[in-house]
């Protein structure tokens, strides 16, 4: 494994960083405040190829590796965590399962649309009574002629109100437990599909999160993803990859917290000198930087293993667990470095503090990550 990025990866990182600095960061606070979806940034990201980063070139994407993908999500999230998660869900949780499990027809139909950003992707797994315990889902799908009829609801869906293509999981065989779950490619135009309540959250406010409601929703038979009963397997494999995205998002947030802390501590004067001259601040900065670097290497290792075709459940779980906890810890320390100003809305660290918190919850809580890690060690 080569730890140094390739020249191409560096070039891509520089491009995405410049884009994020110029076009994403300046609007991050405002979009958060107004709970406004990052339409303009997504449009530009489609032009730049970022919405199709992992989609193969034959379907209109850039066909890039997961290490590069991780770098991109980190850079976007460093500027705006909301835009970061929308991009991650679009690629990891929507495009990827179609790339991996889709038929040729499904790939030809949906991947170019996702790559061009004509429709944004979402992932309909979680239900009110099925979060960490995804196998307990109650949404049902019944085959009737050429269509599956889906009834039920999903909750906490990132991009829910804006998404055009959603991977939806539903029970096709109640007796079979997790093996009775199937996956479907759903378009928001399908009859019986509607968006429910939009949640008021404490962070990542520009990524709109909602319920999705299915009332006798008609899904064409050819939109079954994989085979009937493959759903649970597809969900778990997809979430393994999604965790690379969320861990990268967490690294980006943590890095932003460090950036802000360095900048502030070198300017803020107390007792006649910049507070960066005090050991108390230096130790916080050092510990933040070390944990961030460790998180980044864990994420890149998981991404590298995925590129090598390895199973990455444990590696992705470790990366997400550590990066998510690091993001919250770093955002907390960043507020401490900023003192009273850090607790105001004048400085961006309060947003980082709110945004960081979700990374230890969605796409598998930190506790579920530990279950996954333990499960692979204690066999």
């Amino acid at each position: 494994m080569i730890l140094e990025l390739s020249e191409q990866q560096k070039m891509i990182r520089n491009m995405v960083r410049e884009f994020a600095e110029k076009e994403v960061r300046p609007r991050a606070a405002e979009l958060d405040e107004k709970e406004e979806y990052p339409h303009a940034a997504l449009e530009r990201m489609a032009e730049l190829g970022i919405l199709g980063v992992i989609i193969p070139q034959e379907y209109g994407g850039a066909g890039l590796d997961n290490v590069t993908y991780s770098i991109i999500i980190e850079e976007i999230s460093r500027a705006c965590a909301s835009t970061g998660v929308v991009t991650s869900v679009h690629n990891s949780l929507t495009a990827w399962p179609i790339i991996k499990y889709g038929t040729e027809e499904q790939k030809k139909k949906y991947l170019p649309i996702l790559a061009r950003g004509e429709k944004i992707g979402a992932f309909g797994g979680t239900e009110p009574n099925a979060g960490s315990d995804l196998g307990a889902m109650q949404t049902t799908a019944v085959l009737k002629g050429d269509h599956y009829i889906i009834n039920g609801s999903k909750t906490f869906i990132t991009s829910g109100p804006k998404a055009g293509i959603i991977i939806v999981f539903a029970v096709t065989d109640k007796e079979a437990g997790p093996k009775g779950i199937s996956a479907f490619i759903v378009e928001k135009e399908f009859k019986g599909f509607s968006v429910g309540s939009i949640f008021e959250k404490i962070g990542i406010n520009a990524s709109l999160t909602s319920e999705l409601l299915f009332k006798d929703m008609e899904v064409p038979r050819e939109n079954l993803l994989g085979k009937e009963g493959d759903g649970f397997k597809i969900a778990l494999a997809t979430l393994d990859g999604g965790r690379i995205g969320i861990a990268s998002q967490a690294v980006g947030i943590a890095q932003a917290a460090l950036d802000e802390s360095i900048q502030y501590s070198m300017q803020r004067q107390q007792f006649g000198k910049p507070i960066a001259k005090f050991q108390a601040i230096q130790w916080m900065i050092s510990e933040m930087a070390t944990k961030i670097e460790a998180s980044r290497l864990l994420v890149r290792y998981a991404a590298y293993q995925k590129d090598a075709g390895q199973r990455i459940s444990k590696e992705a779980a470790m990366a997400k667990l550590f990066a998510a906890e690091t993001a919250s810890w770093c955002a907390d320390r960043a507020i401490q470095v900023h003192g009273g100003y850090g607790y105001t809305k004048e400085y961006p660290v309060e947003r980082l503090f709110r945004d960081a918190r979700i990374t230890g919850i969605y796409e598998g809580t930190s506790e579920v990550m530990k279950m996954v890690i333990a499960g692979s060690l204690l066999r």
């Binding site: 520089n14 491009m15 884009f19 190829g49 980063v53």
Partner: protein, 255 residues
């Protein structure tokens, strides 16, 4: 069809330079390098001309071997090929400009040469005009708006105290200002595609320049020390403003 050359320089990222307080010298080791910002404006303008009139864009750089990676960024933006000429030890503006003009002659059939008005590190602004001098081509410096058509080019130029519109027939040398455009970011696909575009490496001797001595020698390089005076006027606003103005005038800062 326009055959365009864009001259680009790899510089250190000046925003990252710190001055060593004891020696007063800028610390240049370990500073990230990049293409001088205004040279990207020159390339952006070249791309727009090519989009309108068709043609080919060659990026030409005099610099160290690692500049090759930075040339790739320009190929990703939209240049068709690159040329890297090694920078001789101690080369001054005269030598760099002459190397570029020899390179331009070697390439042949060039309609336009575009440069940034100056590089962001030294900001001497000499290279564009010197190239025009060596080639004996018209030069349109400090252009903030360019209108090109087959065989001629019109430039709106910022001469500081006045704006001038100048037209020249091709071939010509143009230098552009930062205001002329916003350089585009390459897409992921363009970055991937840049790996397939050629970068030619020419030697100094094949341009017949290996015996050319530098005329200007760099004797020393010092950083500008910037220190805050930390003077705070605590009187009421009217008095404070008056005191501030008086102090600024005393420092000779009010013209």
């Amino acid at each position: 069809m326009m055959n365009i050359i864009v001259c680009a320089k790899q510089v250190v990222d000046v925003g990252e330079i710190k001055v060593n307080p004891s020696t007063n010298k800028p610390v240049l080791e370990g500073i990230p390098k990049k293409i001088s910002d205004i040279d990207k404006n020159a390339l952006e303008e070249a791309i727009r001309i090519k989009e309108k009139l068709g043609g080919k864009i060659t990026v030409m750089t005099v610099g160290p071997p690692d500049a090759k990676e930075k040339i790739k960024e320009l190929l990703a933006m939209g240049a068709d090929e690159g040329v890297l000429i090694p920078r001789p030890q101690g080369a001054d503006y005269h030598i760099v400009s002459k190397l570029l003009s020899k390179g331009i002659e070697k390439l042949g059939n060039v309609d336009l040469v575009l440069c940034g008005e100056a590089s962001i590190d030294m900001f001497s602004g000499q290279v564009g005009p010197r190239i025009a001098g060596f080639l004996d081509w018209p030069q349109l410096t400090y252009s903030f708006k360019v209108e090109a058509e087959a065989g001629k080019v019109k430039a709106h130029r910022n001469m500081g105290d006045r704006m001038v519109v100048t037209e020249a027939s091709c071939p010509a040398v143009l230098t552009v200002t930062k205001e002329i455009n916003e350089p585009r970011l390459p897409s992921l696909m363009q970055i991937l595609g840049s790996a397939r575009k050629p970068i030619h490496e020419w030697t100094v001797s094949e341009l017949g320049m290996d015996k050319e001595p530098a005329r200007v020698l760099e004797k020393d390089l010092r950083g500008v020390k910037m220190e805050r005076k930390n003077i705070v006027f605590k009187d009421d606003m009217d008095n404070a403003v008056e005191q501030l103005a008086e102090k600024l005038a005393k420092e000779g800062l009010l013209g």
